[in-house]
């Protein structure tokens, strides 16, 4: 049932024609964090030069967050917070690569970390939610929530935080404590129980909305101010709207196939990695405007929107694919009558045009996702990637590698530049007229 769209070896639009493999990790590389413009993760710089190796945790790292201080008094310090299964959180100094402080008073594994830059505090979510300040003083904490613990945190306006705890979404509010100078209290404000299954992803779209996705494929758009449900796309796999592909769905409808693994958004749309597919949900139209049901051979783990209407996804199958959201010329012969979706193929190569489901309306442009390139390099699941604009793309994988994908042309040019600089430095380059 290999119905994944493939692209040949000729990929004109794929800019990544040079790669650099960074070895150094001994185990699965799970996280890449952009610290500042050109530094990311724990150890690597964009040039591929290993900056630091940070050793400290005894178990796997479960969460990682950059924490840069905007304090004018101090020099611009880049800190990294790492949480690990050994129930500790360590603060690292990025510039020196040293361990700044270690907190080990947790009762459970910290599963997520969020930095509230505005308040200069950070939150750790495990079985309970703790609020810390820069100096690693515990400011306040909630009571024990569940054993499952907080799986995701997102900052909301008005000093609020949304925490995904199992099927529930709990809104907390941070309030300045009455007595202390720097004290904060954390108060549970609201519990939202609209999801049928565990919430896997939580993303803030803008100041007014945030989106959650659950294990059974529900996507709910919430209002960030009053925490009400604005819209929901309950079932991407609604068989009624996809009569043609129903048999297949039945075969493959395992929870993994429908879980919302990752969400990302720009101002207009939410991009959801659902199972093997990618869905584009328009917030204004409140519907899926484009999708690629089987974008990968295996679950899509991470997805990111690029500025140029492109979308990059990575998957357990070890590949990274680049998609472009394209507007489709509406054809008059469109079988609009069949309902809200039409069957329309994506690319020339698509064998099953039916896979393309696109909601369409008479007066709105139709979109589809076209595969413009794929990057094959990892031999195991690609956990995550970071997009550095024209600098390139860094992917990390379970095969212990980080690969930097770069634009070969650009790199070649840069090398020429370096070359002539070096020539000039060594005095070999003297242009005489």
């Amino acid at each position: 049932k290999s119905s994944v769209q493939t692209i040949g070896e000729e990929q004109i639009q794929n800019p990544y024609t040079e790669l650099l493999v960074l070895k150094g990790h001994q185990d699965i590389v799970r996280f890449l964090v952009q610290v500042d413009d050109c530094r990311y993760e724990i150890v690597f710089q964009i040039t591929g030069e290993k900056l630091f190796e940070l050793h400290g945790h005894t178990h796997k790292i479960t969460a990682i967050a950059p924490f840069s201080s905007s304090d004018a008094s101090e020099e611009n310090k880049h800190l990294i917070l790492t949480a690990s299964a050994d129930r500790t959180v360590i603060v690292w100094d990025c510039t020196s690569g040293t361990q700044v402080q270690k907190v080990s008073c947790f009762h459970s594994t910290v599963k997520c970390l969020t930095v509230l830059q505005r308040l200069d505090v950070w939150l750790s979510g495990g079985n309970d939610l703790c609020v810390w300040n820069r100096k690693l003083d515990l400011l306040c904490k909630t009571s024990h929530l569940t054993d499952a613990g907080v799986s995701a945190l997102v900052e909301l306006p008005k000093n609020c935080v949304a925490a995904a705890v199992g099927k529930e979404l709990i809104i907390f509010r941070l309030t300045a404590s009455n007595d202390g100078t720097e004290g904060w209290n954390i108060v549970e404000v609201k519990r939202l129980v609209d999801h049928q299954d565990n919430i896997l992803s939580l993303v803030s779209v803008n100041d007014l909305t945030f989106v959650t996705g659950s294990h059974v494929g529900e996507l709910i758009v919430w209002d960030a101010l009053d925490w009400t449900k604005q819209a929901s796309e309950c079932n991407f796999w609604d068989s009624s709207v996809h009569p043609d592909v129903q048999p297949e769905i039945k075969l493959s409808q395992s929870p993994n196939e429908t879980s919302v693994q990752h969400l990302t958004s720009d101002e207009e749309c939410v991009f959801a990695a659902v199972g093997k597919g990618i869905y584009v949900y328009n917030l204004q139209m409140k519907r899926v405007i484009a999708c690629q049901r089987t974008a990968h051979d295996s679950s899509v783990l991470h997805i990111e929107k690029l500025p140029n209407r492109q979308l990059i996804s990575c998957s357990e199958d070890g590949s990274v694919r680049i998609w472009e959201l394209r507007e489709k010329q509406q054809l008059p012969a469109e079988p609009v009558s069949t309902g809200f979706f039409n069957m329309w193929g994506f690319g020339r190569a698509s064998k099953q045009p039916n896979q393309t489901a696109k909601k369409m309306q008479e007066n709105t442009p139709m979109y589809f996702l076209e595969l413009v390139g794929d990057l094959i390099g990892h031999s195991s699941a690609v956990q995550m990637f970071l997009y550095f604009g024209e600098l390139g793309l860094a992917t990390c994988s379970a095969d212990h590698l980080i690969i930097l994908w770069k634009d070969g042309e650009r790199e070649s040019r840069l090398r020429s530049l370096t070359l002539f600089q070096k020539l000039a430095e060594s005095g070999d380059l003297q242009i005489k007229v």
């Binding site: 004109i12 390139g373 031999s379 370096t418 070359l419 070999d428 380059l429 242009i431």
Partner: protein, 928 residues
């Protein structure tokens, strides 16, 4: 390798003949006798024809004080090599030019015998009757029992080719000096040990004698001495004297001036040096390495087991005892070292002289191409070979900041030393060292011109050969004194330059009469007398008269591989080119004026040959003015002497020149293959392991391009940096193919060679980063499936050559470079020849890549505001129009240029991550 020496062989031999033919017939008595062996259908190039030995060998002889000159051993130690050649006779010959003027023994006015640390002498001898020519290296070893404590030896490199000896004089001299130094060091060690033993004996004897005297004294209270007692006392006295003498000798031998060793240009290899110093410093401490040896063969004073014995104070007469053998005279370790070195020398100088010369020149040239030589050359080989094989004049090449002093330093002391040593036996040759120096300075000024002079010298030299017909004569054709002159001519040896008329005249003038039964010492020293003043003035014209030997490869003809000056020049050149014709083809017009078709290399041809910046020394200066890739055959070509073929369309040019090229080479190779086995062809059994490898690889590559019609895309893959996976079941087949194809693989900036002969595990992305040519096992097992799966997964990064089903999956190739590189109709038969052919084309590619990478305005905007697009456009224009590259060839050059850049900007010491560059291009499946 710059070019094929086949070509050299032909051009070199033909020119003088032509010159002779054109001259009016000479009177009978002056005419040169016909080649004596031509009647037997022998190949006139087979220089060995007249000699009784099959190939060059090294002979060690001794002038024994008991039996006279006798041969001791030959290298290689094979009776077949010397064959019918009379070693005894030849030993007599070479030892009879004994030079020993050094006094060893009791000098007048000195109480004790004095050791003289004699320098070796080096002469070239010719015995035309035997058809043998020899470089003879005389040396003395110390032996306590020998007359005057010295034993004269000589090491001789015997060859049938006089040219070879003459041209390789410097190298031979350097190599043999090293071997000799090693032998002598071992000898000094052994001598010191012997002395110590002797001292112990003497000491013991003295004690015994002393005791006896005491006993006698006590026993005898008569008040007078018996004759017995007087005898004893005398004996005691002589023993005491002997002890003092020997102690003095020991002191002398230990105080051997090692400093001198360092100052001169001898460079004994390092381990020895270390040993030596340990040796000199603490003689009594048994060196660790010696301990083992001490046990087995020799009982040195070091060895605590030595028990002194009673000896007579007066040493026995010479003829009473057996003299020590060479092996006994020398410390075993050093003796084996010396033998190893001699074997190494034999291997190094094996083969035809033009082959050696080409090798040396190309190595010297390659060494200068620091920016590009890593691509297709084994740089480690270059580096390690260079200090060993370098000849004196070229020695400076290794160092960056050599100035004129270097020329003087190595040669001057030697000359001074050896001058004295000649006096005894043969007439002294007046050496004009000062003039020599002046010469070299002159040559520095007139840089590239120098070699002209040298080349003519060359002819003078060649002409001297004409007198070889003398019957029973030994000719000392060259001595060390002529060293510096030789050096120069050597370096130019393979430049085919027709002699100017003046050269012809001087040639005649310098002809000497045949002499009977005499020993002649000739000097090839370029004294002023031999070079008329007006002759020197004619250099510029001589350049124009150079024959243009077009090998038709249509490559770039310009010198600048030398980074700095050349680079600037290149930059300038291209700058102007860029500025003139941003896009219009009009900028090619000035070239058309030169009567040249605006073909590929026009833009660059105009760059005049650049003298090397460090052109102080004759040979080096000459190298500088050398076209980098046309190498020996091309010479300096004025652009307007280009072949008319170049007026044809550029496409045709490449085609026709290709044909021409392959034809000529094929002609040569077929000619070579028809000659007898004794032909000293350049493809003789490899001098080094590397040569054998090259030969095999070349042969394999030839077979590959003949066997597989899709060889071109495969080679293109390799040249453009796309990993080629050779898939097959049989390891031997795959390995062979990988070896064959490896000659096309450019080296990356990383040290390791990017070739992996055999892999059995699934490939990974990292492998493609590291290796550009991989032999992969195909098996039917599940593991094998994994291998194939991985291969198909990464198929976009690789080309796959399946040896079992004879298919190739790789991108399309439509360029023309590879077809020149690997023409399946090529007539080249020898692997090594093909290898050289490949190397020369790859060198051309390198130079193009160099130019491309280092042209400033091809990569950076000329002005601030210039948009990137116009730079790109200029770049493409340059590649297409100026470098004459089409289609995929561009990618090859781009890839090579990228490698050059990476190498250049790589920080020393920092390994750097290998990059994997790739293209998203469709692959095609080729089948036979």
């Amino acid at each position: 390798m710059i070019s094929a020496p086949d070509v050299v062989a032909f051009t070199r031999e033909e020119q003088p003949e032509d010159a002779l033919c054109s001259e009016p017939p000479l009177p009978e008595e002056y005419s040169v006798p016909l080649f004596p062996f031509s009647g037997s259908g022998a190949n006139p190039w087979a220089k060995v024809a007249g000699s009784k030995f099959s190939r060059d060998f090294i002979l060690i002889s001794e002038f024994s004080e008991q039996v006279g000159p006798q041969p001791l051993l030959t290298v290689p130690d094979d009776a077949k090599v010397s064959g019918a050649f009379d070693l005894n006779y030849f030993s007599l010959r070479i030892m009879s030019v004994d030079y020993q003027a050094s006094f060893v023994g009791h000098p007048p006015g000195s109480a004790y015998p004095k050791l003289n640390f004699v320098e070796d002498s080096k002469v070239v001898l010719g015995d035309s009757k035997e058809g043998a020519f020899a470089y003879v290296h005389h040396l003395t070893l110390y032996d306590l029992e020998a007359r005057g404590f010295v034993r004269p030896f000589c090491m001789a490199y015997i060859s049938a080719d006089e040219h070879k000896i003459m041209r390789q004089f410097q190298e031979l001299s350097a190599e043999f000096s090293k071997a000799s130094e090693c032998l002598k060091t071992g000898n000094r060690k052994a001598f010191a040990n012997e002395l110590e033993k002797k001292l112990k004996d003497l000491d013991y004897t003295r004690t015994v004698l002393h005791n006896e005297t005491e006993i006698q004294k006590k026993a005898n209270d008569k008040g007078y001495y018996t004759t017995q007692a007087i005898e004893k006392a005398n004996e005691l006295a002589s023993v005491e004297k002997s002890i003092i003498e020997h102690q003095d000798l020991l002191k002398q031998i230990r105080s051997y001036p090692y400093r001198k060793l360092k100052e001169s240009d001898f460079h004994p290899y390092e381990p020895e040096r270390a040993l030596e110093q340990a040796d000199a410093g603490c003689e009594r401490d048994a060196a660790a390495s010696d301990l083992a040896e001490a046990g087995e063969t020799h009982l040195y004073a070091h060895a605590p087991s030595y028990t002194p014995k009673l000896i007579k104070a007066k040493s026995a007469k010479c003829f009473d005892k057996k003299l020590k053998t060479l092996e006994e005279l020398c410390d075993v370790y050093f003796f084996t070292q010396t033998l190893d070195q001699l074997y190494q020398i034999e291997r190094t100088f094996r083969g035809d002289v033009c082959y050696l010369l080409t090798e040396q020149i190309s190595r010297a040239l390659l060494k200068q191409q620091r920016v590009t030589n890593f691509l297709f050359e084994d740089v480690s080989l270059l580096d390690e070979k260079q200090p060993e094989n370098q000849y004196g004049g070229c020695r400076g090449l290794g160092h960056d900041d050599v100035d004129g002093k270097c020329l003087e330093e190595p040669s001057a002391p030697k000359v001074v030393i050896s001058l004295g040593s000649y006096k005894s036996s043969v007439e002294c040759v007046p050496i004009k060292m000062e003039q020599e120096m002046k010469d070299s300075q002159e040559s520095r000024m007139s840089e590239s011109v120098t070699f002209e002079q040298q080349d003519n010298l060359d002819y003078l030299d060649a002409d001297l050969k004409g007198s070889i017909s003398s019957g029973e004569s030994i000719e000392v054709l060259g001595t060390e004194k002529s060293a510096s002159g030789l050096t120069k001519s050597e370096s130019q040896a393979s430049l085919p330059v027709s002699p100017s008329p003046q050269a012809g005249r001087s040639k005649v003038g310098s002809r000497r009469t045949v002499s009977e039964d005499s020993i002649e010492v000739l000097s090839t020293c370029p004294s002023e007398a031999l070079i008329p003043e007006d002759f020197k003035a004619s250099y510029p014209s001589a350049i124009n008269e150079e024959p243009y030997v077009d090998d038709g490869d249509g490559g770039l003809r310009f010198a600048p591989k030398q980074e700095d000056a050349a680079e600037q020049e290149a930059l300038l050149q291209v700058d102007s080119a860029c500025c003139i014709g941003k896009e219009s083809p009009g900028f090619l017009e000035p070239l058309a004026e030169l009567g040249q078709k605006p073909c590929d290399e026009d833009g660059v041809v105009r760059i005049p040959p650049q003298p090397y910046r460090e052109a102080e020394q004759g040979p080096r200066g000459a190298f500088g003015g050398f076209p980098s890739h046309e190498g020996a055959s091309g010479g300096l070509l004025p652009p307007y002497e280009l072949d008319s073929r170049y007026l044809a369309g550029s496409r045709e040019v490449s085609k026709s020149s290709l044909d021409e090229c392959s034809d000529s080479t094929s002609y040569i190779s077929s000619a070579a293959s028809t000659c007898s086995d004794r032909t000293p062809s350049p493809a003789r059994p490899g001098c080094r392991a590397g040569d054998r490898h090259r030969k095999r690889a070349g042969q394999g590559a030839l077979r590959f391009i003949r066997q597989y019609p899709f060889a071109h895309p495969a080679i293109y893959s390799l040249l453009s940096g796309r990993t080629l996976v050779v898939l097959g079941e049989e390891e031997a087949v795959v390995r062979k193919l990988v070896t064959a194809l490896s000659i096309f693989v450019p080296n990356g900036a990383v040290d390791a060679r990017p070739v992996k002969h055999w892999v059995t595990s699934p490939l990974h992305l990292l492998d493609f980063q590291k290796w550009k040519l991989i032999g992969l096992q195909r098996t039917g097992s599940p593991g094998g499936m994994n291998v194939l799966h991985a291969l198909s997964r990464y198929s976009r990064y690789v080309s796959i050559l399946d040896t079992d089903s004879k298919t190739l999956r790789c991108p399309l190739y439509k360029g023309s470079v590879v077809s020149r590189l690997a023409d399946h109709r090529t007539q080249i038969k020898r692997g090594s020849t093909y290898y050289m052919h490949v190397q020369s084309i790859l060198t051309q590619l390198c130079s193009k890549a160099f130019l491309f990478a280092f042209c400033h305005h091809l990569h950076l905007p000329i002005s601030e505001r210039e948009p990137e697009e116009s730079v790109v456009k200029r770049r493409m224009n340059f590649l297409k129009l100026q470098l004459g590259l089409a289609n995929e060839d561009i990618k090859i050059v781009q890839y090579l240029a990228e490698l050059l850049k990476l190498q250049y900007i790589q920080e020393p010491g920092q390994g750097g991550n290998p990059l994997l560059r790739f293209d998203y291009v469709p692959s095609f499946l080729y089948k036979i």
